[in-house]
Structure formats: C-alpha cells, structure tokens
C-alpha cells in the first residue's frame, strides 16, 4: 500500500514493501476510469509480487482501457499497528487511495491459512466482514484462486467467486458491472444475479440456500433463482498459445520470493496423484508450443533483465516438447548470462542431458518428492515412480558433483502403516549408500540427505477427498517413530507442524458454518497464520470451541461417498464418479496411467482445450 507519510514509513520494517513506485506499475487517469479494481494478495508484498496468477490478471484487467486494476498486499503487523494508531485505512499500492472507495475488491485465495489475513484485509480497509452487512456503497468483494474450489468457509464474507482461470471471466464481470452502471440498471443484488446467470465461472454464494441433515452433514444446495446454475462450471483458457500473456512486468525494487522470470509452460498435469488437488482442478493439460514460449521468454527477459528463467508448471518434465524448448532457450540464454531452472522435477525424468542444460550457468540443489516410503503406498497414491527411478536420479546428480539431496514425503496417507514409514528411513539410507557406491562422486566429501515430511491433508476434488486425516496423537506418534528410525547423522529429518495441517484440513473441507469462527478469529487478532511465528494452535481450537464447532467433524471423519459435499456446488470438470473410481483403485493398490498414456475418463474433456491429451468430446 502506498503511504504518503514518510514518518510512518521511516518507522516500520522494510518500508520498501509499501513505498511503491516500481518500474512497470500501471498508473491511469482516474477521469477516464469506469471501474477501479483493488487486487489483493492476502500475504506480504514479497510473496504476493512473486505470484504469476496475480501478474497475469493485473495485466489482463489493465488491458481494458477504462478499467484500472491496482495491487494490494497485507501490511506487516508493525504497519498494521501504525495504521490503527493513525486511523489510516488500507490503501491501494499504486494510487494510495483507500480500497473501500473502489468498485471491485478482488482477493486471491492461494492457501487456506491465508483466510485470517483475508479478513484482516477487509477489516483494515474498513469494509464490513460479512457480505450481507455491506450496502451499495461498499465495493463488490470477489474471491478466486485455488481455494475458491471450496471457499465455503469464507463464502459469507464474499459477494462472489471466480471459479477456474480468470483471464476472461474477470474482464466479462467488470464489463457487465460497467454496462449496468452506465445504463442505470445497477444494484448490487441485480448485478450479482446477472453475473451468476450470464457469466461462466461466477459463483454467488448468497444465491444458494444450504440445508443440513440432523447428523450435521449437508442436505442440499438449492439455487434461489431458476436461471442460476445448480453447479458452477469452472472456466479455462482453451488455447494457451493465444491466452493473454503479460509482456510488461512490474519490477519490484526489493527482493521477492521468486526473483526470476516465471515462464508458464503449460497448465494442468497428466499425472493424477491421488492426494493432489492441483493435479485435478487444473485439468485438462493444455500446452504452449516451444516457439511461442521462446518468444515469450525473450520478451520477459527484455522487460525484466532477470538472470534466471524458471520453467514453471506442475510437473515440468512432463512437458512433451521440453527438449525442443530448452534447446531453443539455450541458444540465447547462455550468451545473456541467464540460467534455466526447472522446479518440480520427477525422479523418473531427471536425466544427465537435462541436468547439463539446467546447470550450464549456475547450479542448484537436488530435490525430489517420492511422497511415500514404500512401493505399495506409492501405488496407493498413484505416484508412479519406483526406488530405482530415485536412485538413478540421485546418481545423475552425484555424477555431476552434487553431495546433498532433499527428499519430500507425506505422512498419514490413506492405508499407511508403520512399515511404510520404515520405507522412508530406508529410502534415505539407500540414497546415502548410492552416494558411496558411485565411483564419480566428489571424493572426500560426505553426502547429506534431508528428509522432509509433511502431513497429509484430504483436499476437495481429489480421490482422497472423503478420507480422514490422522489425529494429532497419531501424527505425533508417527513423527516420533520415524525420528527414532533415522539414526544416520548424514540424514537430516524435518517434519511439518501437524497442528497447522490439522487446522488446514478443517478449513479445506469446511462449509459455511465455519464463518463465525473465522470472524471470531479475526476479532481476536489472527493474521498471517501461514507464518509459523503467528500460528497459535490452542487459540484456533479455542475459537472453534467458543463457536460450538465440532472441528474434527471436518478433519478426522471418513466422509460418506453419498454425502452432499460443500464443494458439490462447484464443477471443476472432473466427475465424482472418476474420483470414486480412483479411490477404489487406491485401495486395491492399482495405479492409473498418465493422461499421455491412456485417457482414464475423468470427464474434463467436456471443457475442450487445445494441445491437450484428452479425446475430443463426443456430442
């Protein structure tokens, strides 16, 4: 946020977060603007500025001549204090105008733990939390991002949500707003009704009545008007080569989390790991062509001057023309001192050839995610990699002189036993042994393996969406057990805080009855719960208890397959039948081939898409 008072900026940490004035920021003449957008990222500037989605939507909205979209980030707690002390409302980054006066406030929901910060943003802006308490004078508050696939816990605080990819749908939404304002038919109620009825991918929670059964499960979601869809189908960009691409970039002056070019190679994922929400909701796979990507990368380099290009996608090595793309890029990146980085590499695709390409200028670390310790459990989650893949991959790294390696696992997966946990320790040991058996290793240096274990969280729109999360006691026991199994000093064991995962699980599958708890949490000053230093588990539990919420109902219960789910009102393209089928396959330890090998009939092909692996839908 842009604060004009220099004394306040001089009294807070990292004032560069608030001072704005970046090269590439968009300033427009207010006199020709018909709709002002405040696009909020409910976390710090450094994190928000690194988000590719925000970057795209900022550009897409601002390419409308009469729309001005500005950015908003959550001020850090020291700044929040100053704002309260001096009665300064939350302002937009570029103009410094209070966002309360804007037409539309958009908030991207990237992870459940940002919900409290989301409410804090509304509070700091002076916007009433509950949508029903906001009259015509307040902006329309719209949410989006991955959590919008089940935004029911925060549904009461939003006027509407954009479901799926927002490049087109947010523009249509804004155009409708301008149209109704201009022809005098605008009221908030009528606008939201028309948006829900006429624009694909707009979900207006207040237009659905929710009823509950006696056992606490949901009875039904009923639209209150006939012309509002029973289920809101997500929007996608069908042809990624033609999708809006932001060729101008706002250049942060202070260091951000991802200070590099992020080149989006494709959307979706061919894999279908059964715990992974992104792998399901971002379907279908839609690739860009290497020629287009190469041009876009050049354009981004000229616009930014960054010295690193990160090829970003859910699983970059699954890009069917990766070799062609990296060859094209390397033709000019080397001369310009640019290094390539490939995050999210799968062990089965990490080859020497690939490694040589990404380490030509700078070197990074080896990171792999086997996710589970035993082959049995990896089959259950459909990870489709085996131990030999991992050992081959680490050896490629060791050949090239690497000595350390990070392995990511998940704990508490459905059907997990203590033998599966043993597998984690054994796999780490096998990597250490592989190092010593590798004749090309860096002589005289000891290897180090970091085993990082997160807690399984059942997420909506995954085959595991009905599963129970392990109880806190079980998690703690399992963590202790695994710790006792890892005795080698060359193996470092870190685990995620199970308490955070527990709250995340509650919110991930939550419904509208959690709203009072979130409002109470906001009242009690919760903010930045994604930050360990601010997360207070006991306080969370107390909030739930004070609101009379049986929180384990959401997290630790096996949900019935026939239950109405809070997110059934959203259609992400993948059918429930497919998810059920996949769940069954999980229990019979049967893997499912990737989209590239064979279509498994998830149903998403009804959305169409160019350069996808889906069979064309038969009419």
């Amino acid at each position: 946020m842009n604060i004009k008072n220099s004394s306040i900026l001089k009294s807070v940490e990292k004032p560069g977060r608030y001072s704005a004035g970046e090269f590439g920021q968009i300033i427009k003449d207010k006199n020709i603007i018909k709709a002002r957008w405040a696009f909020c990222f409910p976390d710090t500037y450094e994190i928000g500025m690194s988000n590719l989605g925000v970057r795209i939507l900022y550009g897409a909205l601002n390419s409308e001549r009469d729309v001005w979209c500005e950015r908003v980030y959550a001020p850090w707690t020291d700044m929040q204090e100053k704002m309260r002390e001096h009665n300064i409302p939350l302002c937009a980054h570029e103009s410094g105008d209070p966002i309360k006066e804007f037409d539309i406030v958009g908030i991207t929901l990237q992870y459940e733990m940002c919900y409290t910060t989301t409410l804090k943003i509304l509070e700091l802006a002076g916007i009433p939390l509950y949508a029903r308490d906001r009259g015509e004078d307040f902006p329309i508050v719209i949410g989006g991002g991955p959590c919008a696939y089940n935004a029911e816990p925060v549904a009461d605080f939003f006027d509407c949500f954009s479901i799926g990819e927002g490049e087109e749908n947010l523009v249509e939404f804004t155009r409708l707003y301008i149209e109704m304002k201009e022809n005098g038919t605008y009221t908030k109620k009528d606008f939201l009704h028309r948006a829900a009825a006429e624009i694909g991918g707009i979900y207006v929670p207040s237009l659905y009545d929710v009823t509950y059964n006696e056992d606490g499960t949901i009875k039904a979601y009923t639209p209150i008007y006939d012309d509002v869809p029973k289920r809101v189908l997500k929007r996608i960009m069908t042809d990624m080569d033609k999708a809006y691409f932001p060729d101008k970039v706002v250049m942060p002056y202070i260091e951000t989390v991802h200070d590099r070019i992020m080149l989006e190679v494709y959307r979706g994922c061919i894999r279908g790991c059964r715990f992974c929400q992104a792998g399901m909701v971002y379907r279908p796979v839609r690739e860009k062509t290497p020629g287009v990507l190469n041009e876009q990368a050049k354009c981004l380099f000229e616009a930014t001057g960054y010295d690193e290009i990160s090829l970003s996608s859910l699983s970059i090595s699954d890009y069917s023309r990766l070799s062609e793309l990296t060859d094209n890029l390397l033709e000019w990146t080397d001369d310009n001192m640019i290094s390539l980085s490939l995050p999210s590499l799968r062990v089965d695709s990490f080859t020497k050839e690939l490694m040589d390409k990404i380490s030509t200028v700078r070197t990074g670390s080896l990171t792999f995610a086997p996710e589970a310790g035993s082959q049995r459990l990896r089959d259950v989650i459909n990870k489709n990699v085996c131990e030999s893949d991992l050992l081959r991959a680490v050896n490629v790294g060791f050949d090239a002189g690497k000595t350390s390696c990070k392995l990511y696992f998940m704990m508490g997966l459905p059907t997990e036993t203590y033998e599966d946990l043993d597998g984690i320790a054994e796999l780490a040991k096998a990597v250490i042994e592989a190092y010593y058996e590798n004749p090309n290793r860096q002589k005289g240096r000891a290897p180090s393996v970091t085993v990082s274990v997160t807690c399984f969280i059942p997420k909506p729109f995954t085959p595991f969406q009905w599963e129970a999360q392990d109880s806190m006691e079980t998690f703690v026991e399992k963590q202790k057990y695994l710790e006792s199994k890892i005795t080698d000093r060359k193996i470092r064991y870190v685990h995620h805080d199970a308490r955070v995962s527990h709250v995340e699980a509650i919110l991930a599958r939550g419904d509208r009855r959690l709203a009072p708890a979130l409002a109470l949490a906001c009242e009690r000053g919760f903010c930045f719960d994604a930050w360990d230093e601010f997360f207070r588990y006991d306080e969370w539990i107390k909030v739930f208890e004070d609101c009379g919420i049986d929180y384990n109902f959401y997290s630790n219960r096996v949900w019935g397959e026939d239950e109405v789910l809070p997110w059934d009102v959203i259609d992400c393209g993948v059918t429930k039948e497919f998810l059920k089928r996949e769940r069954k396959n999980a229990y019979s330890e049967k893997t499912t081939p990737s989209c590239r090998e064979k279509c498994s009939g998830c149903g998403v092909n009804k959305l169409g898409g160019e350069r996808t692996w889906c069979p064309k839908k038969e009419n």
Partner: protein
C-alpha cells in the same frame, strides 16, 4: 589499438518513494536495469559470472539523493550519454540518471557530501533553529554511532564528529527548520563516513524534537552534492 575504457561513471538521483529502497536492493535492481538497457556489461569469468557495479556512497533507507555515483565496468566503448538514455527508459522519475562519462578520478577521491535537512516539528521557531546551529557548530559534536563488537553484538559508541562537519547553516522559514551542512564522506575507511541520520538522531536526543505525532512531525534528508577533499570542488 586504443584500449577501451573500463568503467563508465553515472550520476543519478534517488528520491521520493525510492528513498525506502535499501542499498542492497538497489544494487540488485540496478543490475537488472542495466541488462534491460542492453549495457555492454563486463562479466567476471568463472562459475558464477557477475557484472561489476561500484556504488560510491551507500545511502541509508529514508534518505534521498540528487547525486549518487555508480561506476559500471563495460566490455567495450559506448557513448556514455547514449547508454544513459537507454537506462532512463527503464527507470521511473524517482530514480533517474542525470550524467554519464568516462571517469578520470577515483571514487576514493570523494571526501565531503552536502546535505539538506528539513525538519518539521512542533514548536519550531527561530530560537530552536539557533539551538540546532549551536549544537552542530560546537567544539565537540558527540553522536552515538552504532557499532558491532567481535561477537557481532550491537552497541553504541560516542564519537566526536566536529572535525567531520563543516559549512553548517541553519534557517527557520516560518514553519520548517532547514539545515545545510557538509559531512565527511568516504567510500572506504581512509577517513570517516558520517551517516546524516546520526545528525537527526542527535538533535532528537538533545532537543527532544520530532517526538510528537508522526502525521504532524517529519523530517527529510537529501544529499545534494559531493566534493573532493577541499570541500569546495565538485566531485566528478
């Protein structure tokens, strides 16, 4: 064959919002700006090639400047002013290059920096201005300087900066106390470098000014000129 000059010297200003960007962040941002401007940067050889940028005097967060100096190593000759134009296309007004040339002096020759302080504080009057002047022109001007001991623990030590302050003038313009002074400035440790923020801190401590409401009271620091050792000849 004439050997290409190795460095181009730029003078730039860093004002307004950009005063809140730290020196380290500025260095990183500037490297990207030069790449965008297609400057023929010289890169170090080796595993991790990097360009060579030498900033003359670090500017503390919250201080503005009209006269920052930056030496950039180039791998071939290029008209400096032409390159400056390209660079300015990649910048906003608050960070703008104003001069470029092949340097004939060393950044180490910098000896004095001139600053404008403007202090808006309650109860400011002619009398307070004279008190400020007295403090800054006294035989001893004691400031507390942040230092680190060998365990990297921060402590404050008292130092007398009287020899490192010159040409002080203080005026009260009816609302704001304006100080103009030259402070010893140095790129290395050959002579002391005085951070202008220390002057404000001393005035706060000694006179109790700038302790009121932040929306009413504020101060600005602007570095306006840089001099050679005589304190009169502009550095170039």
């Amino acid at each position: 064959m004439i050997e290409a000059p190795k460095f181009i010297r730029f003078k730039f200003r860093k004002v307004g919002n950009l005063q809140f960007i730290s020196h380290l962040d500025l260095q990183k941002a500037m490297a990207k700006v030069l790449v965008r401007a297609k400057a023929p940067l010289w890169y170090s050889k080796g595993f991790n090639p990097h360009a060579k940028l030498i900033f003359a005097l670090p500017l503390s967060v919250g201080a503005q400047s009209e006269c920052e100096y930056l030496d950039v190593r180039v791998e071939r000759a290029i008209p400096p002013l032409e390159l400056m134009e390209h660079i300015n296309n990649e910048l906003t007004d608050e960070l703008r290059f104003v001069d470029a040339y092949y340097p004939e002096t060393a950044l180490e020759d910098i000896y004095w920096a001139e600053y404008d302080f403007s202090i808006k504080t309650t109860g400011a009057d002619e009398k307070l201005a004279r008190e400020v002047e007295k403090l800054l022109t006294a035989e001893q001007v004691i400031i507390l300087k942040k230092a680190k001991d060998k365990y990297k623990k921060i402590f404050f030590k008292e130092i007398d900066i009287a020899p490192y302050v010159r040409d002080v003038s203080v005026v009260f313009d009816g609302e704001i106390i304006k100080i103009n002074a030259k402070l010893s400035a140095s790129i290395n440790q050959t002579h002391p470098h005085i951070n202008p923020e220390n002057i404000v801190t001393m005035l706060k401590d000694k006179l109790g000014i700038l302790s009121g409401h932040v929306t009413q009271e504020q101060y600005d620091i602007i570095r306006t000129r840089i001099y050679f050792e005589d304190g009169k000849t502009d550095f170039r």
